[in-house]
């Protein structure tokens, strides 16, 4: 009689034991699939630890898209377009003049740059006239430093022109 009762409780206990692992699996869903973005300029912080879905950045090692739980890394940025895909599904594009992006272990992304503006703030005419000006200096007989600076300008302007198209 006594042994029968034990067998019955064991039978009753089993379904609970099967259910337990399933509940534990549900825990993973509580982890956020968003990445916290901080986009900071010396004079302004554009994003302040805001949840976003994805950020595409122009690293020196190549274009990369950063999602939540990305491998921690430090990337030097080329002058180029940063695309932020927000929670609402819309995306915003910023042109940064170059800086660093730091992916931290807890799904945080910090981007630092000297200058950065939304793409619609740029004037295609100003870019075009500066390109021809910089090309003149590169081809001219200025000092080595002037030519080096003009080459940097040309690199930035060409990237900007490609982004504006």
């Amino acid at each position: 009689m006594n042994s029968l009762r034990i067998a019955r409780t064991a039978l009753r206990a089993r379904p609970a034991a099967i259910r337990a692992p399933l509940q534990r699996r549900g825990y993973a869903e509580a982890v956020s699939d968003k990445i916290k973005l901080s986009l900071a300029l010396p004079h302004q912080s554009v994003y302040k630890s805001q949840d976003v879905v994805q950020v595409n950045i122009p690293a020196e090692s190549g274009e990369m898209g950063v999602l939540a739980n990305h491998v921690p890394s430090i990337e030097q940025l080329k002058p180029g377009l940063v695309e932020v895909i927000e929670e609402s599904g819309g995306s915003k594009q910023f042109f940064l003049s170059g800086g660093f992006a730091i992916v931290q272990p807890n799904s945080e992304l910090s981007i630092n740059a000297v200058e950065g503006f939304p793409l619609e703030d740029f004037s295609a005419d100003a870019v075009r006239s500066q390109i021809s000006e910089a090309q003149k200096i590169v081809g001219g007989s200025g000092s080595e430093q002037d030519i080096a600076e003009a080459k940097i300008e040309l690199e930035v302007l060409e990237s900007l022109q490609a982004a504006l198209k």
């Binding site: 200058e115 740029f122 900007l160």
Partner: protein
């Protein structure tokens, strides 16, 4: 990684400031005027010798001159 600006004797700081300057100049007029004010530096310094102040120099000009000198000597 080899960078063209590094080969010509520029520092990363200088590279960033040149890139930022050209980004500011590419803005639409209203934003550009506000932004270009950020690129200006009016820092000045003077060398003191024997308790007397030498002439005031702009840090930006002195930096540019030093960069040209280091580029030509290397």
């Amino acid at each position: 990684m080899a960078f063209a600006w590094k080969a010509s004797g520029l520092t990363y700081n200088k590279y960033l400031s040149v890139a930022a300057r050209v980004v500011r100049r590419s803005l639409k007029d209203d934003k550009r005027l506000a932004a270009e004010r950020r690129g200006e530096m009016e820092l000045r310094f003077a060398k003191w010798t024997n308790g007397k102040q030498g002439d005031m120099k702009s840090v930006a000009d002195a930096n540019a001159a030093a960069a040209v000198e280091s580029a030509s000597s290397s």
